[in-house]
Amino acid sequence: MILPDLTAFLADPAAGPVLAGIQGERWRKARDAAKDLCRKDKPRYLPLLIAANAGLAQDLWNRGLGQDAEAVLEYLKTIAPSELLAALLARQAESQAEEALKKAIGGRPEDIAAWRLAESAAAALEAGGAAPAEAMPAVDAMVTASWSPPEETSAFSGELRVVRAAVQATGDGLWEEARLALQALPRRSVFQHWRFFLRGVRHAHLGEKTEAQRCFDALPPHSTPARAAAPYRDLLELPPAAAGAPEEASLPLLVAMAGLSPAWATPLLEAGRHWKRQKLDKAYEALASPLRQYFPTDDPGWGAVLTDVVFASCSGKSALPHAAQQGLVDYFLDRYDNEKFRSDRERLFALRFFLHEDQNALDAAVAEECGDELVKTWARVSGPDALRESAIWTMIGGYLQPAAANGSLPSPRHNEKIILGRIHEKAASLDRENPAPAVRLARYYFSVNNQSAYNAQLTALGKRFPEHKGVLRLSAEESIRRKSWPKALKTLHQAYAADPSDRAIVELMLQVLQAQVMGLHRKGQPVPDTLWQEMEPLLLDLPTDPARVSEVTAIGHSRWALYTFQGFSGVPGQSAAAARLAPSPWAHFFMLHLVMQRSGFLQVQPAPDTPPSWQDLRWFVLLLQWDEATRERSWTHQGDLSGIFRTFLKALQKKGLAQDPGDLPAAVQAFQKAVESSNPSQSGLWVDITMEFTAIIAAAAKKNAPYQIKLASAIFPERLYDMAGAIPVLQGILAEATAAKDTPAIQITNRYLDIALKKSRLPLPPEWGEEGLPGPSWESADGSDGEKNDDRELEDTLFPDIQAVAAALRIFPKSKRKEIKERFLAQGMPPDVFSRALDLAKLLAFTLTKQQAREILESSAWDLGALPPPPPPPVIKPDPFQPDLFSGL
């Protein structure tokens, strides 16, 4: 309170009531008492009257009674000293400002408190100090508040009005007006960050990304402008800031900034809420109900984008959980079943969606029916269109074609194929100027073996569209089928010229060239350099990053794979070149391993001018033994090794088995020894290679063949069972070897002859009859003393059992072994006899062919149940469309 000094009246009892009134802020009472005293002695008691009126005036101001206070002040002007009057006038001005503020901002205490806080921060800044950080929310609240700022009662108020004007102009896109408004803002202002924000918004709208980022990056992290900048940052694809704007706020802004009607905002917000909860059907409903004119739609615009999002999100390719997708699918199915579509357009989208979704499990009849309905619905929506109808049938035909090609169409397949044909014919007839459906029709004819229609279609296409890539490709494929490599290549070159970017054509060209390489390999002929050179420009250079290898087949068509293969084929320098091209040393290690594994199948072999010798057979056996001796249980590549052996035998046959047979007997003896001492766990491999070898040697051992061949044939297991029959053969060989003074051959023949003579004198077991002696062995023929044969008598006794167990081992798969054992034991074979028989049978098993084993089992006393059916003879029919040379790599 602004009051004069009244201490002089403390001792005056007459002034007591006035002082008590002033002290108790009972101003009117004090004034009246002071008036009474002044009537008695005005000069003495006037200060008391002035004090009471001054207090009253201030009290009236405090209570918002400005007019009453004005009247009291007018009276005071006649009696109060000038200093007191000046102080009261200042108080009056303050009171008026506060009144105006309250009037302006609505009088909420928190708003007034915020104003005061913001104003004090501005004052601190103006005075050269720093604005307190806690004032920031209050400053921001002043800008975004809905009330208008009071008239310029202070600098702060003036700055606020400037910022408000700039916000208004920015919202309306009046960039120049906003810029000019902001120029009025002093450099040191509590609204400085708003200046940055509004500038950033302007730059964002003008597409000035860098400038916008600079402005937004300068914003205090937790200020309103920083939050408000979030959607702009997002639109400009800038890194997100610490604080973001709430979705409910930013979505309507985005709708407005995207130039869409505000009517989109609420449905989008609601759809977004459902989408987050993965209720796609409700999200769809939230959009389709209020916005049925604009959604779903194909018309270019926001509606089409939204339509694509919604329909693609419930397709199988979406990352959304299956249950969420299924919710929307069920929703459409329900509308379809109950005819609840809002419009033909909605029906059209649902039908199209069903067709795409069921593409892998489409029944041809259903697909045709669905296609018909789609065509009719679309015609109702946007009129008939032959090109579109052709596209629909082409698409459906494409969906059905793989199933037809795999023969996986549900029965009756014949009808399905007829429908498929009808679909392809519709597609072709509706767009006669388009060769693509006609090519598909031709492929369909081929797939159903309608050769005449296929040929006619191919010829017609060739005449009508001689330069069309698809037609040329079809023609090239036909040439490949006929193995007309030059014609295929010529046609493919034409197709390549039509579209050099079509990798499928390049791959076909590579296949043709590789098929030629393969053919030459099969014939054992050298591959001309020109063939490799022709492949060179078509090859791919693989990226170092495996994630960037788009197709697995690209590896087979890579320069790296081809060079590796060439290196294996003996082309000089290519191994090193392949290693250089490899993406990494480890990748090359894998590649080498794979090519090596497949070299038997692919028949990669040393150059044709280096034919193998019988010494190489010994090397093979030796290496195989080394492999066996050092092999670990988990290693499995027996099949590949037998493939290599087969390649080797073919090369030997090509050279001529009778060529240089001098080393043959020793090689065969080594082979024989290796077989007998082999590890039973590797029996499969030894059986395979023994069979292969026996077959070609037996075929070669004709009457006029060199005695070495005949010796090799005589001492191999096929003949073991006919010792008596072997004697004259061996005697003939001995005579020839003696005449040729071939000491090693004479020694070998003599050893086997001794054994044959000895064995032929042994009594035959009753079950064996006259068919020959049971059991090998030529073991003593390798020069050993025969000590291993101490148990021969026991073996003879058990031989029928051993044979039966061996035959069972040969025929039944490994998985059945336990079962076999149980059956033998159940039928009375003692366990120790079975174990003994098993040990011996393992050795014997790989001397039996499967046919022999079947015969043994069928005539034995043991009943092992149904025998597995004999395997069909392998039929190798090269498919020219399978990249047989490299593709599997």
């Binding site: 928190e110 408190a113 915020a114 929310p137 975004t144 809905s146 916000v167 208004q168 102009a169 920015t170 919202g171 309306d172 896109g173 964002a204 709208h205 597409g207 309103t224 939050r227 408000a228 639109l235 704007a245 709430p246 706020a249 930013s250 979505l251 309507p252 802004l253 985005l254 709708v255 407005a256 900034m257 995207a258 130039g259 505000p262 989008l268 759809a271 977004g272 999200a283 959009l287 018309d299 270019p300 926001w302 089409a304 984008v305 939204l306 694509d308 999002v309 693609a312 999100s313 390719k317 979406s318 199209r352 269109d385 090109l387 579109r388 052709s390 596209a391 698409m395 767009d431 388009n434």
Partner: protein
């Protein structure tokens, strides 16, 4: 994304108009500056370059341009040639929603 939108042309634009829009778009988004956008423009042109391509595009399934309607809206706004000023009332309402209420103490 819808090819008509990528090329920024209305439906029903003829082949010549589509071609002109494509040429304009590849000038705006050359491959050396934004390879992805360039690729997108190329694909958009291939999808609607003639009546047959347009028919096939209309019939065949589309990829989802975004993971949710909200994301799609952002994508759509981002791809507009310019951002539309939201208008002062909408802008103010947005700023208010970004401002926490004043402390009551």
């Amino acid at each position: 994304m819808n090819p008509w939108l990528i090329l920024d042309i209305p439906a029903g634009t003829d082949d010549a108009g589509i071609r002109a829009a494509w040429q304009r778009a590849i000038q705006q988004h050359p491959p050396e500056r934004d390879a992805l956008r360039f690729q997108e423009v190329q694909e958009a042109y291939q999808a609607i370059r003639d009546a047959r391509a347009r028919a096939a595009w209309a019939v065949h399934p589309r990829r989802a341009p975004a993971d949710s309607p909200g994301d799609a809206l952002r994508l759509y706004a981002r791809r507009r040639p310019t951002l539309t000023p939201p208008g002062a009332p909408a802008f103010r309402a947005f700023l208010q929603a970004c401002t926490p209420p004043p402390d009551k103490k």
